[in-house]
Every structure is written in structure tokens, then in C-alpha cells.
């Protein structure tokens, strides 16, 4: 285990609580509630001021957090790390865990894997504390996309008692004309709790790549 805060966890216990969420159930009938015990079993203190949310920037954001230690996405927490990239499901009348033959991501709503990520995202957002960042995609029409997990689940779980500010890091490539004035970002601002400070900064993809490739540079200037 590479993060010291997680040593208090018992992997075997985590596995059995995890299985309880979907074992013996129709894999299209697993609601987010099924994973509540799992979320409560994994103990890990959030590291304030380092939490990084993301939307439509999966690849670059994880390259960044993998190579540089300054920020943490959900997928860098213990629970997110364990489940990242995995597929699982149960079946009615069976107490086996399957990794093939599971419903595809888009096959159903109360999908065993989707429900996990929806609940984990909500929990990560609820725990967000201090100064929080969000890496959004400046190369698409609506960097703040209403149907995204960030917009539909995470933003309204931010707690102004724990969290101070949200900084949007808008990643663009050279030929994009998007800026922090983008209308979808105005929507984000409007949806954000009024007590939270909002910032936005524009960064090019190549600048992020430079930050990724220089492990000794400070993280501050990255954005």
C-alpha cells in the first residue's frame, strides 16, 4: 500500500463487505444504497486542499496524478484505486462473483458497477475540504456538461462547512477558443453553493504535459 493513511484498513473485510453489495442479485438491480456499507468500511482521511475533481478529462487528469503527487482524484483514494478499471457482477441464485458476462455499462441504470461509482463520487464530493480543484475539458462544446457525474452528482454534494473554494482548471489545446467566460461555466458558478469561492484558470494541454514530465518542479505553477 502506498498511502500511509490507509494502513488501518483490512483488505479481507473490505472484500466481503464489497461482495455483499451485489452477490446473488440481478446485476441490473443494484442501487447505490447497496454500497453504503462499503463506503463506511474503508477508512481514509481526505487530504484537504489536494482534492481534484474532473469531467471529460479522464486521461490527462490521471496521467497527472499518477506522475505528480500534489493532487488526488477519487481514483487515487484507496477505494477508487481498488475498483478502478474493474468489472464485476453477481447473478440471482448464485453466490459467485463474475467478471465476464456482466451487463455492459450502458445496458441499465441500477448497474452494479455504475452504482458503485455514483456513490463513491458522491462520498468523495461530500468529503471535499479546503481548496478544491476541478479539471474540465476546454476542447468540447460544454466543459461543464449537465449529464456528467461531476455536474449531476458531485457539485451539489460540496459542503461549505468543509470546503472553501473551487478552482476550475480548464484544459485547452492550441486551437481552442474556449475561455473561462464559457456559458456552461457560468451555469456551474450559479449551481455552486454561494459560500464557496469560485476561480477559473485556463491552461494548455502542453503546459500540463510539461508539469507531468518534470517531477521536481513545484505543483503551484501548473495552474
Amino acid at each position: 500500500m502506498n498511502k500511509p493513511a490507509s494502513r488501518a484498513n483490512d483488505c479481507q473485510e473490505i472484500w466481503s463487505v464489497f461482495e455483499q453489495a451485489f452477490l446473488g442479485k440481478n446485476p441490473c438491480n443494484v442501487s447505490t444504497d447497496a454500497y453504503v456499507s462499503l463506503i463506511n468500511t474503508v477508512t481514509q482521511d481526505p487530504v484537504c486542499n489536494t482534492m481534484l475533481f474532473w469531467s471529460k478529462t479522464w486521461h490527462i487528469v490521471h496521467e497527472f496524478t499518477k506522475k505528480r503527487n500534489c493532487f488526488q482524484t477519487l481514483e487515487d483514494t484507496l477505494l477508487g484505486y481498488i475498483m478502478d478499471g474493474l468489472t464485476w457482477c453477481g447473478k440471482e441464485g448464485s453466490n459467485e462473483t463474475f467478471t465476464t458476462g456482466c451487463p455492459l455499462w450502458n445496458d441499465c441504470d441500477n448497474h452494479a458497477v455504475k452504482s458503485f461509482w455514483y456513490l463513491a463520487s458522491a462520498a468523495f464530493a461530500e468529503d471535499a475540504c479546503g481548496d478544491v480543484s476541478a479539471m474540465l475539458n476546454g476542447s468540447i462544446a460544454t466543459p461543464f456538461t449537465p449529464s456528467s457525474v461531476f455536474a449531476s452528482i458531485e457539485v451539489n454534494k460540496f459542503n461549505p462547512n468543509k470546503m472553501k473554494s473551487l478552482t476550475v482548471v480548464l484544459v485547452t489545446s492550441e486551437d481552442d477558443s474556449t475561455s473561462c467566460d464559457d456559458p456552461s461555466l457560468k451555469t456551474l458558478q450559479a449551481e455552486l453553493h454561494s459560500e464557496l469561492k469560485y476561480n477559473c484558470t485556463l491552461v494548455t494541454m502542453s503546459h500540463i504535459q510539461e508539469c507531468i514530465s518534470d517531477p521536481d518542479a513545484a505543483c503551484g505553477p501548473c495552474w
Binding site: K56, H59, T99, T100, G101, L104, W105, W117, T145, V149
Partner: protein, 288 residues
């Protein structure tokens, strides 16, 4: 993957991607084709080839992969090899893909592999170890289980509930699509009806496996044969159904007809074609 060259008089593409067309065109023909001769040598050889030459930083136990594959196929009757039977084999072939370089295709087989091969900017399923090993091959077990492969004939699609070849490609396609991230490109054929078909491997398995959390943008490219016919395009035909599905799921998308790079590739295969002559002329003038 396609059937061997002897079937090519009928212009078709990926055997598994084209269920509907296969049923119409090949009824009766597949039953005469059995397991590809020398299957074991080919699969294991390709595995070593991939590991040594194509992707030198990787390390796989080729003999073990073959064993798991063989077990999955011969232990069951020829029409009863399910996706989960290939589970142990897939576990023996884990591969991390450059997730933001994936290229999907439906009914554009020849072009896609020339394009991906030459530009090396994209990966198709056939560029992954799994796809590389099994591309163009046919296999099935014998009616009596545990008697090995049947080299005389393999079942027709239409009679097969769990066809051994289809099940493998289905899982491989699902894994491939589920791994995709960032920008994804799909190449569709503008010279046929139903370029986008919900029954094709792309239209069913791959599209439904694309994860909206990981994939930001789907680039649809519709390409017709240079000489036509020009049946479908971004604004005409089944592509609209694809766009509908993408929008409903929250994917961003763009659609292009007549991508220049792809047209140039088509011209490479047929430089005398009328529309290619303009390119030829401009290249000749560069000497002056």
C-alpha cells in the same frame, strides 16, 4: 477479422461484425469451412511475434494462453462455447492499451487496417494481442466433447446459440471498448445501407461498452468508396441513429464525411481512380 480469401467475391467485412450480412451471403458456405489448419502453431506463433516484435516490452506465457483457449473450446460442444468459458484465457492476456488512441470500425475492414497500420496513431482491436492472435481464424470443437478441434466443418452462425468464434470476439470487443478513453474514432462505410447497425459488433457490444466517464469525444468518420455509390453520410441514413445514442448518453461527438487523409488512403489503393487524378497532378507538379 474476416473469412479467408476464398470468400471475398462477396464484398463483406468482419465476420462477427456483420451478423445480418453473413446470414444472407454465407448461408451454407461456413458449414464447409472447419477449424483453420495449423491453428495452434499460428496462434502461438502470433503470440510470440507480438511479444517480441510488435510490443517488445510485454511478456506473455503463450503456451498457457493457448492451453486456456483450447480448454474453453474443446470441452464444450461446438455450439455451446459461452463468453464466460473464455474467462481464464482473457485473464491470461491482460493488456494496458493507449486508451486515447482507439479506433473502431464497422464494415470498413480493408481501409481501416491500411490506415491504422500506416499511421500508427491508432489502435484497432486487431492491434491488441487478443485481436492479433485470432484475426482471420476459425475454430470449433467436435460434436463429441474433448476430442479436439473439428477441422472438417464448423457450425453456421444461424444455427449456433453460443458460437465459439463469436463469443471470443464479443468479449474481446467488450474489453477493448470498455478501456477506451479520451477521443475515440469510428469509421463507417458510406457506400452501404445501414452503415450503423445495432446488430453489428460495433453497434451492440462496443457502443454499449463505451464508458461516458472515460470517453469525452466520439469522432465519426463516414467514408464512401471513391467511385461510389454514395448511400449514407453524416446527415443521411443510419448514422443519425448512432448520433442519437451518443447524445442520449452524454457523449460529445463530431461527424465528418470525406475525411481527406482517408481519401488519400483510398487513392493509394487505386491511384487511377478519377477523383485521385487531382492528387496525382499536384504531386507531379512538385518537381518543378
Amino acid at each position: 477479422m474476416t473469412l479467408p480469401k476464398s470468400f471475398s467475391p462477396i464484398k463483406m467485412s468482419h465476420m462477427c461484425r456483420c451478423f445480418v450480412i453473413v446470414l444472407f451471403c454465407l448461408d451454407g458456405l461456413i458449414a464447409e469451412m472447419g477449424t483453420t489448419p495449423n491453428l495452434k502453431h499460428i496462434v502461438i506463433g502470433r503470440c510470440y511475434s507480438y511479444m517480441t516484435l510488435v510490443s517488445p516490452n510485454s511478456s506473455y506465457d503463450c503456451e498457457n494462453i493457448w492451453r486456456e483457449f483450447e480448454q474453453a473450446v474443446v470441452r464444450k460442444s461446438p455450439c455451446n462455447v459461452k463468453v464466460k468459458d473464455y474467462g481464464p484465457m482473457f485473464r491470461a492476456v491482460p493488456q494496458t492499451l493507449p486508451c486515447d488512441k482507439l479506433l473502431f470500425w464497422s464494415k470498413t475492414r480493408e481501409l481501416i487496417h491500411n490506415y491504422a497500420g500506416a499511421t500508427r496513431r491508432f489502435w484497432t482491436l486487431e492491434d491488441t494481442l487478443m485481436g492479433y492472435m485470432f484475426n482471420d481464424l476459425i475454430w470449433c470443437g467436435q460434436k463429441e466433447k474433448d476430442r479436439g478441434f473439428d477441422y472438417n466443418s464448423c457450425p453456421e452462425w444461424s444455427t449456433c446459440v453460443n458460437h465459439p468464434v463469436y463469443s471470443l470476439w464479443r468479449q474481446a470487443s467488450e474489453n477493448f471498448a470498455a478501456a477506451a478513453c479520451g477521443n475515440v474514432t469510428v469509421l463507417l462505410n458510406g457506400s452501404i445501407d445501414n452503415a450503423f447497425h445495432r446488430k453489428s459488433m460495433f453497434g451492440s457490444v462496443e457502443l454499449d461498452s463505451l464508458n461516458p466517464r472515460m470517453v469525452d469525444h466520439v469522432n465519426i468518420k463516414v467514408l464512401a468508396n471513391l467511385e461510389g455509390p454514395f448511400v449514407e453520410s453524416c446527415s443521411q441514413g443510419s448514422i443519425a441513429d448512432l448520433i442519437n445514442v451518443l447524445e442520449k448518453r452524454g457523449f460529445h461527438w463530431t461527424c465528418t464525411d470525406s475525411d481527406l487523409t482517408l481519401m488519400i488512403f483510398q487513392c493509394i489503393q487505386n491511384p487511377q481512380q478519377f477523383s485521385c487524378l487531382t492528387y496525382a497532378k499536384s504531386l507531379q507538379h512538385r518537381d518543378l
